[in-house]
Symmetry: C2
Amino acid sequence: MYVTISSEQANNARPLRSASKQPTPIAKAFKAGANLYFEGDRVERIYQVCSGVLRLTRLLEDGRRQVIAFGFPGDIVGFPCDGRYHTDCDVLTEARLQAYHLSALEGESGNPELHKELLQAALREISAMQDHFMMLGRKSAIEKVASFLCVLTERMSRDTGPRNQAFLPMSRSDIADFLGLTTETVSRTLSQLRKRGIIAINNIHTIMVLQPQALFGLSQGHEGMDCPTKPDLHGLARAC
Amino acid sequence: MYVTISSEQANNARPLRSASKQPTPIAKAFKAGANLYFEGDRVERIYQVCSGVLRLTRLLEDGRRQVIAFGFPGDIVGFPCDGRYHTDCDVLTEARLQAYHLSALEGESGNPELHKELLQAALREISAMQDHFMMLGRKSAIEKVASFLCVLTERMSRDTGPRNQAFLPMSRSDIADFLGLTTETVSRTLSQLRKRGIIAINNIHTIMVLQPQALFGLSQGHEGMDCPTKPDLHGLARAC
DNA sequence: CGTCAATTTGAGTCCAATCAACTCCCGTGG
DNA sequence: CCACGGGAGTTGATTGGACTCAAATTGACG
């Protein structure tokens, strides 16, 4: 999952086998902390997240890290390139994953339906990554963090209804490495949002959005937008 | 094209119809400055660059811009998502483009061979974009510029042989918006590389790489790698 | 309750952005 | 041919936001 604002396309995420009758028959369970694969491994399976959260990362020689994406339910991870994975992939919270053997996707024996679905998933991925470029290249720290929270709440509410609550299964340093910041800056920015009354931090992994409009405004670069007239919580819930 | 160091996969770029006999039969010419499409336009064609250079951009409401990628010969541009383009696309230098109608890629009438090629192209695109994340999120200005030059020279030399020369068809502000910097910083960083004897700037659009190893070192974050053994004064003299 | 890691907060620094001036390059027209 | 104009690029001075280093606090877990 790429944290972006214009992510309508993510709504289309669905099981690759949605056409079939059986509801994802052979999903396997993975424990938190487990590693799915490393960068450079030969690709044998592609995974779709049924539940839980994954983390895709890349490393630079000197240890600098970039979190490429988080894998939320509905997402596909493990896109191959030249037969290899190009990120590491770890399980953040206990997850159920649907694995697809690469052999089912290529060659004459390949399932053309699956092949088509995979292309659609890859094209959505490209679009989402393009959004994320804007964030990494052109947004300030507070815009990045606000964007991140906006998409998380949007993503959450899609399943559980509009609850204005974000669950952050990942650590602060995961967030930092995703947004191109440091853990200190992420922490400071969250504190600032809390002090301004825009969010409340229930615990490290649970954040309540008190002023969704203000948060959205900040994510778009509109400074000082707390309570422009009155917070239209209903409208925002609909919008996000 | 995404400016990254580990871009071996780009070597695989090839015409979508490589299997066919005819050498890209219906490539059309486009003038510099032409617009191929805008973000949000309905996708009807996907393009492969035969010659020339394209620029893919995104805009934020307030005018901030991110150059998503440059389209060099061999690259595919116009990946659709939900039937729409998700970037603007403009022609930087007079280009010949091979257009593929979207109808040829989907539905029952679609060419399955083309479909497969498109998926491969999309997967390469994803991998290249992942590399670029690291650059935008975690690299310093000099690392970004050095990386950019490294990949440009690598990309050039692929066709014309190793000539240690980079042609920059785009403006400084295009480079800046691609790397997440300002034009001033790009300009300053190039000057710094020139003063250190690592590159020479023939003219605004042509750069000679005098110390490829030092440039590569800088792109990877190794500081102070000029002249590892002895300074090649001849190279410098030639350049200046 | 104690330990240790993760997170938060604080103080100071630095890199890149900003604001501003100047140069260079070209094309245009007197 | 040269003066002029204007945009792109470069360079300089200053500012500011995020980083770094360091300390305090919280929280998870035995």
